[in-house]
Amino acid sequence: MDVISSTFQLFIFPGFLFFILLSFLFEWVDRKLYAAMQRRIGPLYTGPLGLLQPIADFIKLIKKEDLTPKYSDKKIFNSVPLLMCALMLTVMLILPVAGESGVISFTGDVIFAIAAMTLFCILIFLAGFSSMSPYPLLGAERAVLLLLGFEIPLMLSIAGCCIASGSIEVSAIVSWQASHGWNIFGPQLLGFAIFLVAIQAELERIPFDIPDAEQEIVAGWMTEYSGRKLALIRMARNLELVFMSALAATLYLGGPMGLAPHWAEGIAFPVYFLLKTVAILLILTIIRGIFARVRIDQMVAFAWRYLIPLSFLQVALTLIWRLI
């Protein structure tokens, strides 16, 4: 019984299948809202309202011919997409969807999440580097530069949450918020803003879509990927989008917890989880819609000049607030 239920949890809900489907849904929401902001319709004819569009894209790419450039470092080039997906799927298991804790939960899983984000960037670098052609190389270089900019603010803003609730465990942060109010209504409001900006960079979205800036370096580090590998990369990036929005919801908006009668928690909590993550996604998409891309040096300068001091300030504020 236990084995069955944990297998179900791992693979179906709230495990791999759930997250993969969620990632498709998120891509759809993202594209639709982005289009609506531009007075367009966006995907429309694939399934009802174009809901199946991301799935069609995925299947099409899976079925396409898979090319590997001649001069690439084949081992790395071929394994990176798979690693990206695996990494994202694993780290997503710590997200609490139906209760205080996720499928796996341990002390220090917040650190694990941060490590996974950094690792993802390193995988991006490897992907670009192993392609051995100019655009991906430049994209990879930019990805690492970008990492220098937003990594520290990201960590510090998460640290703010950890300090506030006095724990480095996701479930503890969630339950602390359930009893003390959401993190966003406290000194973490600043942290939340910093977090949103930083994940926009981590996700490589406008205004920080520098490593795959189409107008400058074609598709950046992804330029040489095609077919199945591109499908996996796209999926990994969508999963990352889900993960980041969900992490923001978990850390700042109280995770899946909310008002619900005891007997309905099993349904209400996932619904709350969805609502909150989608809310974050909407904010992310609006940001994507209203900015132009900044240049890499401008991004790094911005991060060091404003984001990092602000995030230190935020940590200090939290500490003071804790002590009082």
């Binding site: 609506a36 902001m37 531009q38 007075r39 367009r40 319709i41 004819y45 609006i286 819609g289 209203i290």
Partner: protein, 112 residues
């Protein structure tokens, strides 16, 4: 900031997209003078071959049918410039609003 407000306004405004082709061709307001696929009034044509001589991209060939000489238009070369209509002394050539001329085969792209 102004672009943010504009984006919010755009979310409320109706979409600017015309749902062509599934919404049908009537959605599009093609003006009367539009130069789409051409049409030939066979009775009016006197077979003078001026249109063939003036066509800048040799998209017209003169053939002979039971009534005599007449032009055939090849849409794969035609650039819808309207010179044939200008040149025709009897106004036998006119342009319709039909723009849906995409085809799988170059050989079928002609107006007889």
């Amino acid at each position: 900031m102004s672009i943010f407000l504009e984006a919010c306004r755009s979310l409320l405004k109706p979409k600017a997209t015309l749902r062509y082709p599934l919404g049908g061709k009537d959605l599009l307001q093609i003006p009367d003078g539009y130069r789409g696929k051409m049409a030939l009034k066979r009775e009016a044509c006197i077979g003078c071959t001026i249109c063939e001589k003036d066509c800048p991209s040799s998209a017209i060939t003169i053939i002979t049918d039971q009534k005599g000489k007449r032009p055939v238009f090849y849409l794969d070369r035609c650039m819808f410039c309207g010179q044939c209509k200008e040149s025709c002394p009897t106004k036998a050539i006119s342009f319709t609003k039909d723009f849906e001329n995409a085809s799988y085969d170059r050989k079928t792209m002609e107006v007889r």
